[in-house]
Every structure is written in C-alpha cells, then in structure tokens.
C-alpha cells in the first residue's frame, strides 16, 4: 500500500508543481495519474522513487516513509518504465532486461533464468533477442522490453510514465491488452501517468485526475465518468462521457439490471454477440446499421435474447442517474 500524505513540491519560487496531495493506493491496483501536460502528474510519480525531491509531506510504502530509505536501494525495489523506453543503447537486450538484478548482484545463472522467464512473459524468443540491441527492435518491442526490465527484480511497486504514449494507436492497444494480461498474473501495485482519458478508462482501477498540481478527483473510472466532481473534470473527460462509460459495462450487466428484449423474428439481418461484449462496441454495432437488433449468446452459445439501441439508452439513463454513494472508491478522496 502506498500513501501520499500532504505531498507538495515547489521549485524555486512560490509556484507549486504539486500541492498538498493526499490519497492511498491499495496493493495490486493500477492507479493512473491523469491530466494535461504541466499538471504535476509526472512530478508526483517521480517523487515516489525520489527522482524528484519531496518539498513537504511524505510518501509511505507499506507504512515506511520513503524519505528515510536509501534512495539507490529504494529505486532498485521499484520498477520504472518511461515513455521513450530509456533502454541503454550500449547494452544488448539481455543486459538491459537484467540490469537491476545485475545491480543487485545476482549470479549469472539466476539472471539468465530470469531473463528467459521475462521474455516468455511478453512472447519474445529469449534466444533470438538475447544478443540484439535496442535499436534493432521495433518501437512496440522496445516498449515491451522496457516493461519487463522494470519487472526483472520482481518489485512490488511499478512506476510507469506514459509508457505507451509514443506508440501508434494499433500497437498501443495491443500492448495495453498484453500488459493487463501480465498484470493479472503479477498483481503489482502500479502508478501510471497518462494524458489519455481512454487509456485511463481502459487500464485503471482508480484514476487520480489532476490540474495545476492538485487532485481534482480520485475514484474509479466509472465513478469519474458518471459523477464528475466539478466543471473541470467533466470538461476533461469530455461530452461523450456517457458513451465512454459504456465501454466499462457489458451486456451481462445490462441484462442483470433491466433485462434483454425478445428476439424480433421479423428482422432478418441480426448479428450475434457474446454476453461479455462491452456496451460501447455493442452500441457501435447497432449504430453502424449492421443490425437493428443484436442477438446475445452466453458462453455456452445459448441464446439469451436480443439487445437494441433503445435498451442501451435506457440502461445508460439509469446508470447516469445513480447516486454517488453507490460507486466505489469515492470515499477515499481526502479533502
């Protein structure tokens, strides 16, 4: 668990880059620091491994004030991934991946074994890439190496500074999915900086939305989309927040709340979809006029009923009118 207690950062002058930030991160969560450039999100992240000094307040990892730890040892226990991957150009892939184990003095055998495990985790052939250098890899591959390098010494905490920001959209999505898959296995506590609201909705367990060094809202993606706390938050997440929110909900959830409709047999052209499909994609299917209704199957391929634009709309209304208390995470914001 990581706690931020009255954390502030000021450079020379009075302007505060980070201003009295308070929140807590649970074990195994992905928390995304979201906001426009200059909002202090990267500074806040870099304070956790003390690449930035803390002017006031303290950050605690499992109750231990990081200010009291040796910064070199602290950094070796925290995985760190940055946007431009920061792979060492002079080292080959194996040397890059095992740099932290090497700094920690692991023996050769153990390092190599770890290297192989990590490469398998991201689906790259350990033998083939071993002696290759970062500049021989594609951007996506480099970023994957950057991620496993951070995982190498199995740190409980990972800091990720816009790790997928430099990738083109298709590859970014793929690596995001892959990363979520890895996270399900490794269950790290991850602090993640992003300026991309869609990435945050997709990846985050919680979002810290920042402006001018202050937290505007801290909560689950769903919470922030449904109950933006102020004008700034709702502007930042955009007018399509309702539609964005649909990507967090599945047909199954809709079925539970309001149920599906009978299949209209008079409509010939209807598509089939799995019950775990998210509602945003389902709505897109309906709007694309691929079908006036979509027939929903469960995992055993049994037909559950149909879904139409009207149904999605009704569900959305219901969701958006929910009381704040019903959504989790909100109460964790300290004021």
């Amino acid at each position: 668990m990581i706690s931020f207690k009255h954390v502030s950062k000021s450079y020379t002058g009075t302007e505060k880059a980070v201003n009295d930030v308070n929140f807590e991160v649970e074990q195994g969560e992905i928390v995304i620091f979201l906001g426009p450039s200059g909002c202090g999100k990267t500074t806040l992240l870099r304070m956790v491994n003390r690449l930035e000094t803390i002017t006031e307040g303290s950050i605690l990892i499992n109750g231990q004030d990081i200010g009291e730890l040796n910064e070199i040892e602290l950094r070796r226990k925290i995985g760190y991934v940055i946007q431009s991957n920061g792979l060492f150009p002079n080292m080959n892939i194996e040397e890059n991946v095992t740099i932290v184990p090497d700094l920690l003095g692991w023996d050769k055998k153990k390092k190599h074994k770890r290297y192989k495990e990590l490469m398998q985790l991201i689906g790259l052939d350990p033998g083939e890439y071993r002696k290759r250098f970062p500049n021989e890899l594609s951007g996506g591959q480099q970023q994957r190496i950057g991620v496993v390098r951070a995982l190498a010494a199995d740190p409980p905490v990972m800091l990720m500074d816009e790790p997928f920001g430099a990738l083109d959209p298709l590859i970014r999505e793929k690596i995001q999915d892959e990363f979520l898959q890895i996270q399900r296995e490794v269950k790290k506590t991850i602090l993640f900086v992003s300026h991309d609201i869609d990435e945050a909705i997709k990846m985050a367990d919680k979002i810290v939305l920042m402006r001018d060094g202050e937290i505007m809202q801290y909560g689950t993606p769903s919470d922030i989309l449904i109950h933006p706390k102020n004008e700034y938050v709702s502007q930042f997440i955009g007018r399509d927040r309702a539609i964005k929110h649909l990507s967090l909900r599945t047909i199954a959830q809709l079925q539970e709340e309001i149920g599906l409709v009978e299949i209209d047999q008079s409509i010939v052209d209807s598509k089939q979809v799995n019950v775990h499909e998210n509602l945003k994609d389902t709505l897109a299917m309906l709007l694309n006029q691929e079908a006036d209704q979509v027939i929903v199957h469960d995992d055993n391929d049994e037909v559950q009923g149909a879904i139409t634009i009207d149904r999605v709309q009704r569900y959305l209304h219901l969701e958006m009118r929910q009381k704040p208390a019903q959504s989790g995470g909100k109460e964790k914001v300290m004021e």
Binding site: E71, R75, G86, F88, N90, M91, V100, P134
Partner: protein
C-alpha cells in the same frame, strides 16, 4: 625521379629517425592530454559554471598560433633550463589537445539521451555506475572523435616544434627551406601528411571497435 629515389635511399634512416621522434612527441603528448582532458571533461559535466569558464579558456588557447605559443612559453621554461627542446613542445601539444578532447567529452556525456539517464537513475544506479556503465560507453564515439581531431592537429603542430629544437619531421622542412632543398621539403610534407592520414584511419578503426554495437550509425 631517380635522383629523388637516391635522396631517399641515402637519407632513409635519418628520415625514419625523425619520424619516430615525431611519433614519440605526439604520442606522449596525446596520452597525457587524454588523461587530463577526459578527466576534466567528465568533471565539467557535474559543474556547469566551471564548464563555461574552462571551455572558453581552452578555446582561446586553441586560437593562439602555435609559433606564438612556443614563443610565449620559452622565457618561462628557460627559467627551469628547458627553454627549448622536447619539454616546451610537449606542453604545447598537450595544451592544444585540451579543447577538442574536453569539449567532446563534455558535450558527449551531456548529450546522452536524457531518457537513458533517467532510466539509469530510475533503476537505481549510483553516480559512478551511471558514468561507467551508461554515460561513457554511449559517449565513447564522440570522445574518440575528439581524440582523433587532437592527434591530427598535433601531428601538424609538431612540425613547428622543429623551430624550438624538439626535432621531428619539421626538421626536414626547416632544413629544406634554409638549404633550398626541395627534396627535403617534399619528403617532410609527405611523411607528415601520411602520418596524419594513417593516424586518423587507425583511430577511426579503434573508434569503430570501441563503439558499442547498439549505438552504431
């Protein structure tokens, strides 16, 4: 032509001797210059204010014409009875080498991709580890380029050293002028040029050899 070959045959060992002398002078100077210059360059990366001063001073130093620098140094070295000869020549060459070596070392390390430096700090490298494992390997090609510049420069300036009795290939040219002996002048010039070209090529090969595979081109 035959006459010239005859000249070369007679003077071969003399020419060879002067060449060795030239190589010795430049070689010793460059080793001293590398030790001093690279250390200063590395230190300067930790002290911006000093960097400005030292680089400015080194660039003024390089502006001083070589013959004038010898001229300025002689009165002082004669205080320790080394007014002319090997010592002032060596000191002059070491001084001239400082700008290319310090400047390239300093800016190469300064120019290592900030993301890479950030990553080095982020994985928990100490200052020395970062220097040895990341900064120097990545800066090496540029540092070597500075050394190459210094060597080629020194081979040329070493010619002037003949005026102050430090020997070397300049002797052939100086003697050629005083005796109006074109063979001597031409030989001196060609050998000096060859030396510069060979040194440059050899150092380029070493530079390629030392360049980590991942930062080629």
């Amino acid at each position: 032509m035959n006459e010239y070959l005859e000249y070369l045959r007679i003077n071969a060992s003399y020419i060879w001797g002067l060449t060795v002398q030239h190589i010795e002078l430049v070689g010793i100077a460059i080793i001293i210059a590398i030790i001093i210059g690279v250390s200063i360059g590395i230190y300067l990366t930790t002290n911006e204010d000093l960097a400005e001063t030292v680089l400015a001073a080194a660039s003024v130093l390089l502006t001083i014409p070589s013959i004038a620098l010898f001229g300025i140094m002689i009165p002082f070295f004669s205080l320790i009875n080394q007014g002319i000869g090997f010592v002032p020549a060596l000191v002059a060459l070491v001084l001239y080498s400082q700008l290319p070596i310090i400047r390239n070392t300093y800016s190469a390390i300064k120019n290592v991709n900030p993301a890479v430096i950030d990553a080095a700090n982020g994985v928990g490298m100490k200052r020395r580890q970062r220097l040895v494992r990341v900064e120097i390997p990545n800066a090496l090609p540029v540092i070597m380029a500075g050394i190459r510049t210094a060597v080629v420069l020194n081979i040329g300036i070493g010619v002037i050293a003949a005026f102050i009795g430090a020997g070397g290939l300049g002797t052939l040219i100086v003697q050629g002028i005083t005796r109006t002996d074109m063979y001597s002048i031409v030989t001196g010039s060609i050998v000096v040029s060859l030396l510069a070209i060979i040194a440059d090529t050899v150092l380029l090969l070493i530079q390629k050899r030392l360049t980590p595979k991942g930062i080629e081109n």
